[in-house]
Symmetry: C2
Subunit: 216 residues, 2 copies
DNA sequence: TCAAAAGTGTTAATAGTACACCCATGA
DNA sequence: TCATGGGTGTACTATTAACACTTTTGA
């Protein structure tokens, strides 16, 4: 039980890159750090691992605290462990990213945590190595969305193909040909048309689609 | 400086999935765990993070201790943090994988550490969650080798195309068509022929190739 | 009637897959 | 002379990329 006592112990934190999609842009939830070091700087959502929880559980707890959400698509990204990454104390940080529907987000929590959604393409300077974390997370989301229907986690239940395309474009950072996009999407079996029509964004109206299995 | 004192601290270990290639098979270096818990069980190469080193540095140090090697291809894989993953104490383990040339391996270290190379396809039961670590590492190596010339780290400086193909087959776990393999490899610019011939494995002799830039 | 977004097919290029025989040599 | 591994090309299929016009409808 005590074979390890000669080894040092460390604070271990979890930082979450929480992605959302709004106004045609990929967004990240950040907040003002409430304590030193870096007090007042902008920061990813994070917290410390507790003794009674696994790191996955810890990530879910933190996400719930800041968004009000359970059952969210979440994935471990990487662990950041430079000695001086946190100028206060040595903290090893395990980074997760999450994809959430911003409409489900409990916006009353914004005030409590000084949190806000910012466009991933115009992110301010964040504390410590948090900008690196976002960059890496964004890259991974981009690679993943090419093959997996993870977009369902960022969109409302019903959505138009134009919105879906805008989502892909904002994640990948490149324009996509409309016809090629629609063909490739329809060859997969992720989504299906409904008989509903959205008239809010065009006179003609656009067919509303839904994901076939709402995978969390 | 003391804003974090109310949070718990943890032992943080690094476990390394060290891959080598010998006898036409992908191998992993494992050893007999010298201390409790799990004393005597087979284990990945690992150690504890020290206060004065980053986690990357820690991984390199551990690799050097067990193989004698510096400047090795190494990549962080994932962090394992179930509460009870180590039955002795709570230990959060950051996993790296490394690709080394088994000929460079200092085999005198085998005796010191009770280490041996075992075929990745007939791995014994390892302690804790180490089998999961190997499985995940192998998957990542397989994905990576499809697009990156990481094979150079597993092979001797000069090698035949047959050996290279065997390497790919052993990593991917599937047979590959010889002509297609040779074409696809020659379309990339990873490797170039030398004027040397290897006669050790065939009467006719096979052209020896080398990687164009020896990336570590 | 027109502005604005929705919707729709074809062609060319590229990448990937399947497949079988001759070559050079030492024993 | 023959057994062994080395070396080579072609046809088919699937995937990806490029590209422009018609439809619907509310203002």
């Amino acid at each position: 039980m005590t074979a390890y006592t000669s080894y040092p112990q460390f604070y271990v934190s979890v930082d979450c890159v929480i992605f959302g999609f709004a106004d045609g842009h990929l967004k990240v939830l950040i907040h003002q750090r409430p304590y030193a070091p870096g007090q007042g700087e902008m920061s990813l959502i994070g917290g410390f691992v507790q003794t009674n929880e696994s790191i996955d559980t810890s990530a879910k707890r933190i996400l719930k605290e800041f968004t009000g959400l359970d059952n969210v698509y979440m994935q471990q990204l990487a662990t950041f462990g430079e000695v001086e990454r946190d100028p206060g104390e040595r903290v090893i940080s395990i980074v997760y990213f999450a994809l959430i529907n911003v409409n489900d987000y409990d916006s009353t929590l914004s005030d409590i945590h000084n949190a806000k959604w910012v466009d991933v393409d115009s992110l301010p300077t964040l504390c410590f190595d948090h900008n690196d974390m976002v960059q890496k997370a964004r890259h991974t989301v981009g690679e993943t969305i090419k093959t997996e229907p993870i977009g369902c986690n960022l969109l409302p239940r019903y959505f138009t193909l134009s919105l879906l395309q805008t989502l892909y474009e904002s994640i990948l950072g490149t324009p996509i040909d409309k016809r090629n996009f629609r063909r490739s999407i329809s060859e997969k079996d992720y989504i299906q048309a409904t008989d509903m029509v959205d008239r809010s964004s065009s006179r003609r109206g656009a067919t509303l689609y839904k994901f076939t299995s709402r995978n969390t």
